[in-house]
Each structure stands twice: as structure tokens, then as C-alpha cells.
Symmetry: D2
Subunit: 115 residues, 4 copies
């Protein structure tokens, strides 16, 4: 339940410090990070590519698959956090702004009362 | 500075509620979400594919590019949050576990004192 | 049935000429082309992300979906051809070399005689 | 120079026979193949993600990188060929149709004579 108490910024700070300690920051242009993101998402695709919908739903209950998914999801999330840090785009603000746009693009269906 | 105070779980709850209100949850198998993630990352790649390293660093200072990057980054982040919610994999736990593995795989360089 | 008679090199020549006529070649570094490939594959993912396995098999029979798939598949193929042209890696040679490696990695199952 | 003489269909036939001999065809829905494509493109992204434009241009001259690029490019091409085979979309026809659309969308610049 750690997501309940960890602010997004804590993850951004942790992954930046990790990269800085290894001298990786010169490589972390937004373009390179986006390409690294495509690489990590490719690893998630590798896990799921041949699974049926039901097998994909059951995958997190299999310990070996669960660990693979968790590892790749963490890699993807960390690059998202690095992109936010290096572009100076606050992720929470960007998400709220996009949700407003998406709520216009995809209005929720009318309720049973007809409104 | 909203990332400083927004816990990861708040984003997970918001995007799940958004999807549930639109009846999208039956489509959100882990496999489908991973494929949607590859689609959204493709849109980030579209923004950056022809930019030089310097142009990519300068992109967030251009208002039109900044909005495009923020929008796509938000879409990517929301799918990461949906994957976390639908797999039951706590993102913060997964990130910490992966950082431990990565610290072994990529040890930080020795300090100036030689240790 | 045009694939039966069109050599791979004809496609490579056509797409290079198309790009050269528009002054695009300076942008076509291998790195940029790979990123463009991820962008185009993302568009294919967009078409298929919410489909069931059966819907995905039926998609080419739907005229609108068939055109979308054909268009995106053509875009992907053209970037593969540009990558081959710009790296000087003959695609047919690379494919044959990789099939030999894959035949070792994934040996075909033994025949009905049991050997 | 093998691309000069190998028709596209020969590659489609070879990869289909390879997959059929291993009993893989039931997994090769268009959706699964697109997801496999995203996975293979991710491997190409992994090779190029941290390279500068110049390093990316020089990569094919490095024997180890050249082999890695050739292997991943072959994997990507083979999935494109499988997608063409399984959707019944002739790749050469699709490419020609898309080039016509793209020529309208991106007209070549006027020549030096002004026409």
C-alpha cells in the first residue's frame, strides 16, 4: 500500500539521484529518455505478446510473471519520472490538465435519470 | 509543484474512476493496457523523432511542444497507473525493489577516497 | 500478388528516392529512423489495442480497418527499408543469417517417426 | 546484394514455414504479431537509445553493433512479413498505395526552374 503514502516527487528525486550517482545525466536528453521508454515498454510487450486475454488477467497471480511485470513496470515508471524531472513538466499537473481535455473528448454517458 | 504533494495512489484512483465512469474497464486487461502503452509511447516518439539532442533539450521551452509533451506524458503515466491498479502491483514497492536490483547491477563508482 | 514479383531492393530504392526528393535524408540517421519506427508501430498498436483475438483476426475483412492496417504496415515497412538502405545492411542477408540462429535456438519438434 | 534479387514473397513464405514447423501459427493473430513487433522494435531502441547522431551513423561500421542491428532488423522485418501473410495484405500493394497518399500530403518542392 506504499502508493498510498509516496508522493510522485519522491520517486522523481530517487531516480534522479540514482542516475546522477552513476554519471548518467548527460545521456538523459528528453529524446534519449523517450527512446529508452520505448525500449522498456517493448520488454513489457515481450511478457504479454502471446497471452490470451484470460492469461493476461491471470499473469499477476503467477509469481515468476508477477516479478517480471513488476520489474518492467518499475523501469517504465522510472523513465516517466526522469522525463518529468528533465523537462520540468510536473506530472500531476499534466495529468489533471489532460483529464480535463479527455473529459470533454469522452463525456461520461448520461445517468439513468436521462441527464 | 503538485508532484510534491500528490501520492501515486491519488492518480491511480482518479484514472480508474475516469475509466469506470465510461464503462472502459472490460477492455483494460493487462495485455490491452500494455499495447495501449506502446501506442502512447509511439506518440511521444513522434514528437521527438527528428530532433537533435539540443533541440530535444530545448523542446520543453517551446509552448506548443511543451503542451504536446505534457499531454503524451500524462497519457503514458495514466496507463502505467492503470496497469498498477489492474495487476495489483504497488508501483512504489516495485520501484524500490527494482532500484535494489539495479544498484547491484550498476554499482555507483568509487568515491574520490578510493572506497 | 505484387509481393511475388517485387524484389526488396525495389522498395528500398523507391522510398529513398521519395525521401531524397523532399530533402529528408539529413534527418534519416539510424537512430532517428528507429525512433520513427517506434512511432509507426505505435499507430498499429492503436488499431489493435482493444480488440479481442477474434476481432483482430477479423479486422482485415473490414474495409475501414483493412485500409488503416495496410497504411500503417506500409509506413512500418518503409522505415525498415530506409534503415536497411542507410545502414548498408542487406535485409535479405540479415534475415537468412537470423533464421539460422533462430533454427538453433528453437529447433523444430521431432517428426512422427520419433527422431 | 541479395535484396536486389529476393522478392518480398520469398521472405513471407520462409518465415511462415519456419513458424508453421514449430506450431506457432495459433499464436500469430494480427494483434499478437503487432505486440511482438513493438517488442522487437524495443530491442532496436535499446541499441540506439544513448547514441549521439554521429555515433548512430557510425554504428553499422562497428562489427558487434552491426550484428546486433542486423539481427533486430531481421526480427522486425520477419514480423512485418508475418503480418502481411496473416492479414492477406500484399505489402508491395500497400506500400504503393501509401506512397500515392504521401505524395499528396508531402508534395516534392518545386524545381529550380520554378515549376
Amino acid at each position: 500500500m506504499s502508493d498510498a503514502t509516496t508522493p510522485v516527487a519522491a520517486h522523481k528525486d530517487a531516480i534522479r539521484a540514482f542516475a546522477a550517482a552513476r554519471g548518467w545525466e548527460p545521456y538523459h536528453t528528453p529524446k534519449n529518455l523517450v527512446m529508452a521508454l520505448a525500449s522498456e515498454v517493448g520488454e513489457l510487450c515481450e511478457v504479454f505478446r502471446w497471452l490470451t486475454p484470460d492469461e493476461s488477467r491471470a499473469a499477476p497471480a503467477d509469481p515468476r510473471l508477477r516479478e517480471a511485470i513488476a520489474d518492467e513496470l518499475a523501469d517504465v515508471a522510472n523513465i516517466v519520472f526522469l522525463l518529468s524531472a528533465h523537462t520540468g513538466i510536473d506530472l500531476s499537473d499534466a495529468i489533471r490538465a489532460k483529464l480535463v481535455k479527455n473529459a470533454v473528448k469522452y463525456p461520461p454517458p448520461a445517468g439513468p435519470g436521462g441527464e
